[in-house]
């Protein structure tokens, strides 16, 4: 009797939460319980999460708080300022791609898609922070290479095949090159980097090539 009453209060409390929960939100609650228990009680979950995020990203506390502000700005009606009710909110692709840091980037859609869990470009705050952490100055070359490979892999088959390269090139030059020129450049690129001779670039080929590029670290960098 007593326990059923307790569970009733639990469920009523859950129903009171205004934000839609997805089916895997239950994963979040033990995490938060643990957080609340082990870390000194703080005013809002944002402060709590910054302590956690600092171990998982290259950001400091001040930067994470600022990121949260930016994330909230993207969709003020969707994203709560206060994360105490563990909302499982995802901002859709169209809103993220219009951020000033991303809106001129020809690869913006691919960038957002590679950091989203569902592959469709809807980012939760976790993914948002992850994305900017990898693209920040402090992320090491190896980590950036992994994600660069994901970004340039348009058909998500874990290889950079000729079509991927052609799409990349067309986005880079806004289709100003003739098709013959595009083919030539793609063929030459594959010829230069392909080590195992399968006519497409695997991650090992890509990493071998990009690790020597002198400009990779300075261009694959977004400051936020």
């Amino acid at each position: 009797m007593a326990t059923s009453h307790a569970s009733a209060t639990v469920s009523s409390h859950a129903k009171a939460a205004p934000y839609p929960k997805l089916h895997d939100s239950r994963r979040l609650s033990p995490l938060l319980e643990w957080m609340r228990h082990h870390i000194e009680p703080l005013e809002s979950l944002t402060a709590l999460e910054t302590t956690i995020f600092k171990d998982c990203t290259y950001f400091t506390r001040k930067e994470i708080l600022r990121l949260h502000g930016r994330y909230h700005e993207l969709a003020p009606h969707l994203v709560p300022l206060d994360y105490t009710n563990e909302p499982d909110v995802k901002v859709p692709l169209a809103l993220i791609v219009n951020m000033p840091e991303l809106k001129e980037n020809p690869f913006r859609t691919r960038i957002v898609e590679s950091f989203s869990e569902d592959g469709m470009g809807n980012l939760s705050f976790n993914d948002f922070v992850d994305m900017f952490s990898v693209l920040s100055e402090m992320a090491p070359r190896e980590l950036k290479a992994i994600y660069a490979f994901k970004i340039y892999d348009f058909n998500v088959d874990n290889f950079l095949c000729k079509e991927d390269l052609e799409k990349t090139l067309n986005k880079l030059t806004k289709e100003e090159l003739t098709p013959e020129e595009v083919t030539l450049v793609c063929e030459k690129s594959i010829e230069e980097s392909d080590l195992d001779g399968d006519n497409k670039l695997s991650f090992a080929d890509f990493e071998n090539m990009i690790s020597r590029a002198p400009e990779f670290l300075s261009t694959f960098h977004i400051r936020i």
Partner: protein, 799 residues
Amino acid sequence: MDEESQNQKKKGKHGKVKKLLKDEKDTRNHKRQGTSKTEVEINTNQKKVKKKQEDEPPQRDKGDKKRKVKAEASSESSDLSDVEELTEEEEEDEEVVGMVVGALTPEELEKLKEAVDDRKKLVSTLRGKPWSMMKKLQTLKESQEFVEKYEGALGKGRGRKLYAYKVMMSKKWMKFLRDFDNFTTACIPWEMKIKDIESHFGSSVASYFIFLRWMYGVNIILFGLTFGLVMVPEALMGRPYGSIPRKTVPRAEEANAMDFAVLWDFGGFAKYSVLFYGYYNSQRTVGWLKFRMPLSYFLVGVGTVGYSYMVVIRRMARNANEQGGGDDTSFNFSWKTFTSWDYLIGNSETADNKFASITTIFKEAIVEEQESRKDDNIHLTRFLRVLANFLVLCCLAGSGYLIYYVVRRSQKFTLAGLENYGWWERNEVNMVMSLLGMFCPMLFDVISSLENYHPRVALQWQLGRIFALFLGNLYTFIIALMDEINLKRKEEEIVKLNMTTWEASLYNGTLGENSTAPSITADPADVPRGPCWETMVGQEFVRLIISDTMTTYVTLLIGDFFRALIVRFLNYCWCWDLEAGFPSYSEFDVSGNVLGLIFNQGMIWMGAFYAPCLPALNVLRLHVSMYLQCWAVMCCNVPQERVFKASGSNNFYMAMLLVILFLSTLPAIYTIVTIPPSFDCGPFSGKSRMIDVIQETLETDFPAWIGKVFSYVSNPGLILPFLLLLVLAIYYLHSISKTYKQFNLDLKKKLQTQNEENKKKNKRAALKAANDLEEARNASTQLQLEQQSKNASSRGMDL
């Protein structure tokens, strides 16, 4: 009964420990799912432990009671009860764990410690793993839980207190590091400004501002050293202004010591202050703290140079680590495809420019790839290049001679008295140097059009020539200064003579020559003063830097701002399109500005020993520059059309900085070691060489045996072998690095051949597969035919 239960207890504990270790192994090697005998044992033990836990009421009594109480007090939020449950479980777990760990053998204890350390390492490297954020958070939670659970418990047993203390200290240390990190990131200035510039102009223009910010940091440290250890002690504890001759404005100059013109020229009161070398007294110790002023002055001078070397080399090493390799052309097209877009760009105009420049770069690369190099008239090109270099050399020689001439002229003016001449004559040297620095690079640009180089190579030549120009100018300036120094030293002899006669005149000849009567006090302003070449040098450098700064700012305003205004507003009433055609808006000249910054820093390094105020001046200058240039860039400049960096690596400018540092400290070191200091001013007056202050300190402040040690160490017999050892070490390291490079090349070649072999193999395999397919098809058609013929024959036979 008792023994049995005790035995069960022990087994239970053991089982639990083994379960912990098993958990550790499992989570560490996710993929390996090997089950072993021990794990089966562990599982059974685990079940036994669970059963035991359920069976034993006395331990659980507390827990049960609490739970019942909680269930009844349902008005409290379920969250709280959940938390309390968790606490309960945790507490019980801790007790059990404590008991368990206490009964472990040492090896298992070690293993557990290792496991805890592994977890800690995982937590610290978590941010570099390419997992999704959810996975990272989960792993973090698990690892931290594990570490917390067993870290405290591990301390139980031998050495518990020490272990717990160590753990607590390391936690506090981590927290301190984290807070310090946060603090330092919060302290970094101008972050948003630079981000703005990056999004408008791309990373190459922003790299100048980042370099400026770094220089600002270095200068702040230098300023701290000179201000805190030299200027402040003298100002606070030294004898005040007016107490001794060297600290007072001489009677003759008193009349106009406060005039703005004189102060702007750093004469008058500015000259006789802590800003310059001449003010400092040569007393060995100063004030009640017994602060060794001359020693501190010397060591700060050496320290600023040493710190600068350290900081530049450390930065170079860090840049070298981040770079993959040198300028490679083996991945030409791949790099162009994957690394040419600058992700920092956030402005649509810049983005359009970038698209256009990328397209141009690709087209050029394609053309180069397709056509072989046209055999131009190679003799004509060579002749033109030689001619261009000759012209450039003439330019450099001409500018050097001009500076020398102007400096000699200014000496003549000073001798004749500066009041007789106008503003131009007084500032001739500085103006000439600044103007040369402004116009010669343009001349070099024009000359280089004769040479017909690839743009990147042309840029490197241009930078090299400007570097040579600045260097030549600086050294000519220094040589001219040396002449002045010699002049002043000759003057010293004369002044010394004058002083003795003047002192004698004070006593009116009442005393004999060799008597030691107390000297009659005369007003310090009246005492005849010896010349002070160090202050003169300091003043020259300060004037040079100020005029350089002024020229830069004026060029900025006129060259960029007014030009932009003219282009913008006259465009409405002009015949051709000013914006697209001739003047148009200016582009930000990254390399020119960086060189200017480097040379200014070189001048600071040269003059800081003689004018401790220079780092302070430079800090002010850089601060103002940052704001002014940020505004000018955003307001008057357009993004560059063709973006060519001087070299692939960032170390190009750092290398130049290092060279300048070395070349700037050479003159200062030369003067310190060879030229005797002035007898009447500065902290080293009275010594035969400035370095003697070290000798003096060793003799007086340190115990006798240190002096002996130093004299042994400075024995040539010991120093020469040491130098020899250093040379051998350098040679050895150099040869090792050559072997590594060779090794690298061999590996690359191997990769290439492997690549080609793989391609051939694949082709062969594909060919073979096609052949096999053909054969199989043929075989199957043959079989079909045979079948058909058989059927036909059998039917025939039937009929």
